[in-house]
């Protein structure tokens, strides 16, 4: 079954690139023999993944050669630009302390983005979880605030950009504000539905075991019971907030997103793509780390 799937997948990638399918066919054949002798599904999967990636790069390379470097930079050019940006020396001034630090250009841009990503994500998430838990727990609060949240929630975070600019300016605070709004709603919704879904049984058991105040009930029963949903919210916002960071920086706040558009305006498309890959790398690392934390915290889950 999977053998067939693999063939179809690679075939799909090679469609339109004459002359390469023979090579890929041979590569695929080799991969198959290796996987079969190894007898490992995981190894076979890895092999196909490598093949798929190689196929993608080949198609990219050929397409870039066909249309020219401005419209589509080649993977080789992007790799070159990535290394240059990663190693080119630059200095970074700590915003509050005013101390100048030596770094590389890519690192400086990344740190600049983190300067609004991290505070926005933290403040937005904490507020989102707090309001979500409070509304999920208190019927009165739920009734009072549901109309407001229903109206505000569908508004995309970027729609607030004008207010971010006139209230806070085109800077870290403005971008952090936008990121925070995004993080708030994701975490609000997950915390709220998590709290609503806490089984009545557990609250009744706790009451029969002597829990007689709301604070203890929330702390010892509701929060742990809702934690899978809350952690999912946090993980979702870790990813979504990178999308928002880039969008917010397109309006001028410094960082990776700004660098993507800035390089493109100077027709350095290879640099632009290199910074796109930075976003991807940072997301993969942070998501991977958080998944680990999540797995440990939710070890009890069936």
């Amino acid at each position: 079954m999977s053998e067939k799937d693999g063939t179809v997948g690679v075939g799909g990638l090679t469609a339109g690139t004459d002359g390469e399918s023979g090579l890929l066919g041979r590569l695929l054949g080799g991969g198959d023999t290796e996987a079969e002798t190894g007898g490992e599904g995981a190894l076979r999967r890895l092999g196909l993944g490598v093949l798929g990636t190689a196929g993608f790069l080949v198609v990219w390379h050929l397409a870039a050669a066909a249309v020219g470097g401005i419209l589509l930079p080649s993977p080789v050019a992007v790799a070159g630009a990535f290394v240059t940006e990663l190693t080119a020396p630059a200095t970074f001034t700590l915003p509050v302390l005013g101390v100048e630090l030596g770094a590389t250009r890519m690192l400086v841009k990344l740190v600049e983005s983190l300067y609004h990503y991290v505070p926005g994500l933290l403040v937005g998430s904490v507020l989102g979880v707090a309001v979500g838990v409070a509304m999920g727990w208190s019927r009165a609060l739920d009734a009072a605030l549901t109309p407001v949240t229903r109206v505000l929630r569908p508004i995309p975070p970027l729609a607030w950009i004008a207010f971010a600019i006139i209230w806070l300016g085109v800077n870290h605070s403005g971008a952090a504000f936008i990121v925070g709004i995004g993080a708030f709603w994701i975490n609000f919704y997950n915390a709220y539905s998590g709290v609503e879904g806490v089984p009545t049984d557990l609250k009744e058991v706790a009451a029969s075991l002597g829990v007689d105040d709301d604070l203890t009930m929330v702390r010892k029963v509701v929060l742990p019971a809702a934690s899978p949903s809350i952690l999912t919210g946090i993980r979702t916002s870790i990813g979504q907030c990178w999308m928002i960071v880039v969008a917010a920086e397109l309006f001028g706040a410094p960082g990776i997103g700004f660098q993507i558009i800035n390089a493109a305006q100077n027709l350095a498309m290879d640099v632009s793509v290199a910074y796109m890959l930075v976003i991807s790398a940072v997301f993969l690392v942070s998501d991977g780390l958080f998944r680990r934390v999540e797995r440990r915290a939710l070890e009890w889950r069936a």
């Binding site: 009744e204 058991v205 706790a206 029969s208 075991l209 742990p224 009890w300």
Partner: protein, 272 residues
Amino acid sequence: MAGVNDVREEGSTADTASDTSGTSDTAAVRVADLGKRYDSDRQTVQALSGVDFAVDEGEFVCIVGPSGCGKTTLFRTIAGLESPTSGEVRLSGERVDGPGTDRGMVFQEYGLFPWRTVAENVAFGLEQQGLGGEERRARVREMLDLVGLTEFADAYPKELSGGMKQRVGIARALAVDPDILLMDEPFGSVDAQTRDMLHGELLDIWGATGKTVLFVTHDVEEAVTLADRVVVMAANPGQVREVVSVDLDRPRERTDAAFAEHVERIRALIGE
């Protein structure tokens, strides 16, 4: 008074207080003329009507009846999770107006905290009482020993079988030393073999702790296996049809003629 007919005749202990004639104000559980009505826009449901019986201290009483007879409503009212529309429940003379640690509850679906280990589940009520570290650990050990789960102290509920989960539920309920153990179809989700084993264990625990036990079930054989007395309920509206005493020596054998007689009698009352 809903046809209460205590058939217990000869020489068992402390029978007088279980009479429902009003002299039982200090009974462990006194359910007095209890009624519960659910009103909705379209209809009114009389879940309980004139339910009246008493349970002695240290007594094991089962409540049986067909589905819809209000036995779960009765259980929840005694637990303090629902309030009656008429009548009242008194525990040792004190009126019930909410859940409390004087009643340990055991549910059919266990109600274990999945994020807590077995030991942490048992410790939950002790934490609320403010019992300190070493004392608490000792009490948890004692309870786990009682239900035979000492070596599973650090396991999470997901790692346990249904029977083991319910042992944890019982240990957790008993840890805070309640006067009464309230059990709602506690063995309804385990297989027959495990259920038989748990019956024996529960009776051992009951013997060792001397707790008053109120046990809801739809299984007549289970009721006759366990109970000193069986409160037989009928539906529409939920009411007590009769209270049947089971004066048989324990452990009881299902193949025993007297056992079968009791089962037959109760089944006839229910109309099975």
